[in-house]
C-alpha cells in the first residue's frame, strides 16, 4: 500500500470541459460518465415554483436548490439524448465559455446528471475533486465550492488545475502542458506541481480552425457548390447523387417551424466538427503545396446526401491554421488568436532561463483537439526546429489524450499524501470561501 503511495477513499473526480463533462471514481483509468456539456432547454412560461427538471424523466432537483422564482420554468435536456434529439422549440446552451464556467445555473444539473443518472452515486458520501482551467478566477472557484458543499452536500472538496493534473497524468511534476480543447488552446508551464501564472498563454485557436473549416464548406469552390449543412434530424429522405452533384433530399417541413437558431447552430457546428475529424489533417513537415497535393483527395458525404471530394490543399489548410496564419488573414483581423508555436514562444519567454531547458524536455500534449491527424508530428517538428533539446510526451491512447485532466485528478485524489489537502465541510463552514484560495494554490 505504501509502496506506490496510493490510498483510495472512493473520491469522485469531475472535469468540466467545453465539449464534455467527465466524472468518475478516483483511481480508475477512465471516467465512468462522459456527458456532453451542451444541453437543450425549453422555457415554459408557466408561473410555478421554479423547479429545474432534470432530463425527460423529470428527476427531482438536488436538495438545497436556490429559489429561482423569478425565472420562468425551464425544462433541461441533458446527456446523450439531450440536444441531439430534435424537440420543438428547444434551445441549446453551453455553460462554458473560454474554458471557464460562465453560467452557473446549468452546472448543478449537469453534475447531478453525471452523479445521479449515470454513476448512480450519492455525492454526499464521497469527497469530490473538481478541475478548473489555469486562468480560472477566484470568484469562479469559490462558486464551484459553494455548489459542491451547499447543493451536493459533499464531505470534502478540492479544486485542482487542469495544467497540473495533465502533468501528473503524464507522470511529471514539471512540464510544459500544451492543451488543445474544443474551444481553447493553452500552454501552461508547470513547475513542481505549481502553474507559473506569468508563463500562462491561451487563446481561442480551435474556434478559428472551426470557423475556417466552416467557411471552406459553405463557400462554393471550383466544381463544388456551397454545401448545405442541414443536420440529419431535419431531413425526411434523400436520394443518392453523383460526386459534387446538387443533393436531392426532402426536408421535414413539420420540424422547420419549431427549430430554434441556437439548435441549428449547434447542429451545424457538429456537422463541421465531424467533417474536420474525418477529413482534415495537418502536414507533418510544414506547409508545402506539393506535399499537400500528394495527400490525395478525400471523399465525404453530408447528411443531405451531397458528397464531395476535397483536395489535399483544401483539407490540409484547415489544420495549418493551428501553426501558421496567412498574411492576408493577419492583415484583415488584428485580434487573431495566436498560433501554437507563438503561444509556446510567449510562454517560454516569460519563464526563467533556468527553467526553459526543463520545460522543453517535458512537453506534454493533451486535449481532444491535439488528436487532430498529424498534429503531434507537426508540433514535434516545429519544436525541434526552434529548440535544441525537446522531448514531447503525447499519449497514444485516445482516452488518456482526451481526458488527461480527469486522469490526473484520478491519480491525485487516490494518493495517500493528498488526503490532508481536502477542504472538509467543517473547514468550509468555519472559514467560508477564503479557504478555497488558501488551500488550492
Amino acid at each position: 500500500m505504501v509502496n506506490y503511495g496510493g490510498d483510495e477513499v472512493a473520491a469522485l473526480v469531475v472535469d468540466i470541459g467545453s465539449s464534455s463533462l467527465r466524472a468518475g471514481y478516483a483511481g480508475d483509468d477512465t471516467p465512468k460518465a462522459i456527458v456532453p456539456t451542451a444541453f437543450g432547454f425549453i422555457e415554459e412560461h408557466v408561473s410555478s415554483n421554479g423547479d429545474v427538471a432534470m432530463g425527460e424523466e423529470g428527476a427531482p432537483p438536488p436538495e438545497g436548490e436556490q429559489p429561482q422564482a423569478v425565472k420562468p420554468k425551464v425544462k433541461l435536456f441533458i446527456g446523450q439524448n439531450g440536444p441531439s434529439l430534435w424537440r420543438s422549440g428547444m434551445e441549446v446552451g453551453n455553460p462554458m465559455h473560454d474554458g471557464l464556467v460562465q453560467n452557473y445555473d446549468s452546472v448543478p444539473p449537469l453534475i447531478n446528471h453525471a452523479f445521479n443518472e449515470m454513476m448512480r452515486v450519492n455525492p454526499a458520501e464521497h469527497p469530490v475533486l473538481v478541475t478548473e482551467a489555469p486562468w480560472n478566477t477566484p470568484a469562479n472557484r469559490e462558486r464551484m465550492a459553494e455548489i459542491m458543499f451547499e447543493e451536493f452536500q459533499v464531505p470534502a472538496f478540492y479544486i485542482a488545475n487542469t495544467g497540473v493534473l495533465n502533468a501528473f497524468a503524464a507522470g511529471k511534476g514539471s512540464a510544459l502542458v500544451i492543451d488543445v480543447g474544443q474551444s481553447t488552446a493553452s500552454v501552461t508551464p508547470v513547475v513542481d506541481g505549481f502553474v507559473l501564472r506569468k508563463g500562462l498563454a491561451h487563446c481561442a485557436l480551435p474556434q478559428l480552425v472551426h470557423a475556417h473549416a466552416k467557411h471552406l464548406l459553405t463557400t462554393p469552390a471550383g466544381n463544388r457548390p456551397a454545401i448545405d449543412l442541414t443536420p440529419h434530424q431535419l431531413i425526411a429522405s434523400k436520394m443518392p447523387v453523383d460526386v459534387n452533384a446538387p443533393p436531392k433530399f426532402q426536408l421535414r417541413e413539420d420540424r422547420i417551424a419549431g427549430t430554434t437558431a441556437t439548435w441549428r447552430a449547434w447542429a451545424e457546428a457538429r456537422e463541421v466538427d465531424e467533417w474536420i475529424q474525418s477529413v482534415a489533417r495537418v502536414l507533418p513537415q510544414g506547409w508545402n503545396e506539393q506535399a499537400a497535393v500528394m495527400q490525395g483527395p478525400r471523399h465525404y458525404e453530408f447528411p443531405n446526401g451531397f458528397n464531395g471530394v476535397f483536395t489535399g490543399v483544401e483539407y490540409c489548410a484547415v489544420g495549418e491554421q493551428y501553426f501558421t496564419h496567412s498574411p492576408q488573414l493577419v492583415a484583415s483581423n488584428p485580434n487573431l488568436p495566436k498560433t501554437i508555436p507563438a503561444l509556446i514562444a510567449s510562454s517560454i519567454q516569460a519563464c526563467d532561463p533556468d527553467l526553459r531547458q526543463v520545460l522543453m524536455g517535458n512537453v506534454v500534449v493533451t486535449g481532444g483537439g491535439s488528436a487532430f491527424p498529424g498534429f503531434v508530428d507537426r508540433l514535434t517538428a516545429e519544436l525541434h526546429r526552434n529548440f535544441p533539446v525537446v522531448k514531447v510526451h503525447a499519449p497514444g491512447n485516445p482516452t488518456e489524450r482526451r481526458y488527461g485532466g480527469w486522469l490526473g485528478g484520478s491519480i491525485l485524489a487516490s494518493l495517500g499524501t493528498f488526503h490532508q489537502l481536502w477542504i472538509s465541510r467543517e473547514e468550509w463552514q468555519e472559514h467560508g470561501k477564503a479557504i478555497v484560495g488558501q488551500r488550492c494554490k
Binding site: 505504501v2 472512493a10 464531505p155 470534502a156 526563467d352 488526503h419 467543517e426
Partner: protein, 503 residues
C-alpha cells in the same frame, strides 16, 4: 429403479428409525449392519458396501481415491479480511474522517501511514527587535520582507513559484527579480543564524550557513550566460563547433609531435636522453625478444654494465628465436609431400592465433592502410606495380608484394618528414634573414608552394630521405626551443616545398 426409504436414509446416513412394530424380527436383524454402515470406509460406493459388507477389507484400498502428492501450502491459503473503515488523518487539523479499505488485523487506533510524509521545512521567524537590529535594508521594507517570508513558507522555498506569485506593490514600480528575492531571503536567514545562540557545534552551524549561501552577482552573471547561450544563432553554433574541432585537432597534433620528438631523441641518444624507455608492444615476437634480452643482460651484465641498452628492435634482429630442429627424416618426408613448415616467428608475427585454418592464399594479399593508401598507391603506380591484383598469389609473391608496399610506405613517410623539415628550414632561414634585416626575394622565392610529387625511384628516395632525416633531426635538436612554437605551423605537410629545390 425405485429407491426405498431405507436407501434414502442410508444415502443421507440417517440411522434407521426405531421400528414402529418392534415385534418384527427382520427389522431387529437389520440393525447391526446399520451401525457397521456408519463406519463405511472412504471410496466404496454405498450400494457396493451394502452388498459386500465389512468383510472385504482388502478391496477398500483399491476403491480409495488415489491420493496425489499433497499440495504445497504457499501461505496464500489464509483469507485476509478487509474492512471499509473511517480513519483520522494526523496531518489534518480538522476532524475530517474519510474511509478506506484496510486489513481487519490493522489496529484501528494506529496512525495514518501517510501522515508521516507531512514534513514542514524549517521556517525562519524574526521579531521586530531583531529586524531593527540586524535586518534593515534600504531596498526592503519590513512589510515586504514579511510578505516574502510568508510566500516562501507557503510554497516550501520553491523560488520559481514564489517569484511567479510575488505580487507585492513595489514603491518604485520595478518588479523584483528572482535573484533579488533569493538574495534577500538567504541574507536574512544567514544573519539570523549568525546572531542567534546556536545549540549545536560549530561545524553544523557552518554547514547550515554554507547551505544558505547565495552569491547574487554570480547568479545574475550565470543567468546572463545561459541567456546568451540560448540566443545563439545557428551560424554561431556552427562556428563554435568548428572552432572546437579545430582546437581538438591542434591538441592532437601537439601530442603527436611531442611523441615523435621523444622517440627520435630516444633513438639518437639512447639512455642518455633521460626519457623513459619505449613501452613494450604486446606482441609474441617482442615478448620473446625482451626475454632473451634479459637473459643476455643477466649473463653479460657483470662484464659490460655501462653499455647503452640497444633498442629492442635491433635486439630481436640480433637474437633470432631458435628454429625448431629438423630431423633428416622429417625433412625428406616434407620434401616428398611438398609440405612447407614455417618458423614460429613468422607465424606469430603475422597473426596471434596459434593455428590458422585452411585459407586461400589470395585472401592474404596485403591491403593498404587507409591513412596512407592513396600516397602508397601513387608511388606504386609510378614504379609500375599493380598492387591490388596479383596474378599468381603464391607465398613468395605475397611476401614480395608486402615488402614492396612496406618500402613504398617508408618512402612516403620519409618524404613527408623531409617536406616538413624542408619547410622548417626555409622558415627558419626566412626568420634569420628577417632578423638580419635583409629579407631578400631569393629566400622567399626558394620556397615555392607546390604539392608533393614523387618522381624518383623508391630506392633512391629512401636512401635520400634517410640521410636527410637524420641530418635534419640533428639540426632540429639544436633548435629545440624554437620547435614547439612552430609545431602548429608545420602541420600541413602536403603543401610542403618541393624536394628538388632542396637538392
Amino acid at each position: 429403479m425405485a429407491a426405498s426409504a431405507a436407501d434414502v436414509r442410508s444415502i443421507l446416513s440417517i440411522p434407521n428409525p426405531p421400528a414402529s412394530n418392534s415385534g418384527s424380527g427382520a427389522q431387529q436383524a437389520k440393525k447391526p449392519p446399520a451401525t457397521e454402515r456408519a463406519k463405511k470406509p472412504e471410496g466404496i460406493p454405498r450400494e457396493l458396501y451394502a452388498l459386500i459388507g465389512p468383510s472385504a477389507p482388502t478391496l477398500a484400498a483399491q476403491f480409495a481415491k488415489p491420493r496425489l502428492k499433497q499440495k504445497p501450502n504457499l501461505g496464500g491459503g489464509g483469507r485476509v479480511k478487509w474492512e471499509w473503515r473511517p480513519f483520522k488523518n494526523g496531518a489534518r487539523s480538522d476532524g475530517l474522517r474519510l474511509s478506506h479499505w484496510v486489513k481487519a488485523s490493522v489496529d484501528p487506533e494506529s496512525d495514518y501511514p501517510f501522515a508521516k510524509y507531512n514534513i514542514q521545512p524549517p521556517h525562519y521567524v524574526y521579531s521586530q527587535d531583531e529586524y531593527n537590529r540586524l535586518l534593515e535594508d534600504p531596498k526592503w521594507t519590513k512589510e515586504e520582507t514579511d510578505y516574502l517570508f510568508e510566500l516562501v513558507r507557503q510554497y516550501d522555498a520553491r523560488f520559481y513559484v514564489v517569484h511567479d506569485r510575488y505580487e507585492f506593490p513595489s514603491p518604485e514600480g520595478s518588479s523584483r527579480t528572482l535573484e533579488d528575492l533569493k538574495d534577500r531571503y538567504f541574507s536574512v536567514c544567514r544573519k539570523l543564524v549568525r546572531n542567534r545562540p546556536w545549540p549545536g557545534d560549530e561545524a553544523s552551524k557552518a554547514a547550515l550557513l554554507s547551505s544558505l549561501a547565495f552569491d547574487k552577482d554570480r547568479e545574475v552573471m550565470r543567468k546572463q550566460y545561459v541567456i546568451s547561450l540560448e540566443t545563439r544563432t545557428p551560424e554561431q553554433i556552427a562556428e563554435e563547433d568548428a572552432l572546437y574541432l579545430e582546437l581538438e585537432k591542434l591538441k592532437e597534433n601537439e601530442r603527436r609531435f611531442k611523441k615523435e620528438r621523444d622517440e627520435l631523441l630516444r633513438t639518437l641518444l639512447g639512455i642518455e636522453s633521460g626519457l623513459p624507455d619505449i613501452p613494450v608492444e604486446e606482441d609474441g615476437l617482442q615478448g620473446l625478444s625482451t626475454d632473451t634480452k634479459k637473459k643476455k643482460k643477466g649473463v653479460a651484465g657483470s662484464v659490460e654494465p655501462q653499455t647503452p641498452i640497444t633498442p629492442s628492435a635491433s635486439a630481436s634482429n640480433a637474437m633470432p628465436p631458435p628454429q625448431p630442429k629438423k630431423t633428416a627424416k622429417s625433412a625428406a618426408y616434407d620434401a616428398l609431400h611438398c609440405i612447407h613448415r614455417y618458423s614460429d616467428a613468422q607465424t606469430s608475427s603475422s597473426s596471434k592465433a596459434p593455428h590458422s585454418p585452411v585459407h586461400l592464399r589470395s585472401t592474404k594479399i596485403p591491403q593498404l592502410k587507409q591513412a596512407t593508401a592513396q600516397r602508397i598507391a601513387q608511388v606504386l603506380n609510378e614504379v609500375g606495380v599493380v598492387h591490388n591484383r596479383l596474378v599468381m598469389p603464391t607465398r613468395d609473391n605475397i611476401a614480395r608484394l608486402e615488402a614492396v608496399i612496406h618500402d613504398a610506405g617508408i618512402v612516403v613517410e620519409k618524404k613527408k618528414t623531409l617536406d616538413k623539415l624542408d619547410q622548417d628550414i626555409a622558415t627558419m632561414k626566412a626568420r634569420l634573414a628577417a632578423l638580419r634585416g635583409e629579407a631578400t626575394e631569393e629566400d622567399a622565392g626558394s620556397v615555392p608552394q607546390t604539392p608533393m610529387e614523387v618522381e624518383e625511384g623508391p630506392d633512391e628516395s629512401v636512401v635520400d630521405g634517410r640521410a636527410q632525416s637524420v641530418l635534419s633531426t640533428k639540426s632540429a635538436r639544436g633548435r629545440k626551443q624554437t620547435r614547439r612554437s612552430m609545431s602548429i605551423s608545420s602541420v600541413d605537410t602536403s603543401a610542403g616545398p618541393n624536394k628538388r629545390q632542396k637538392r
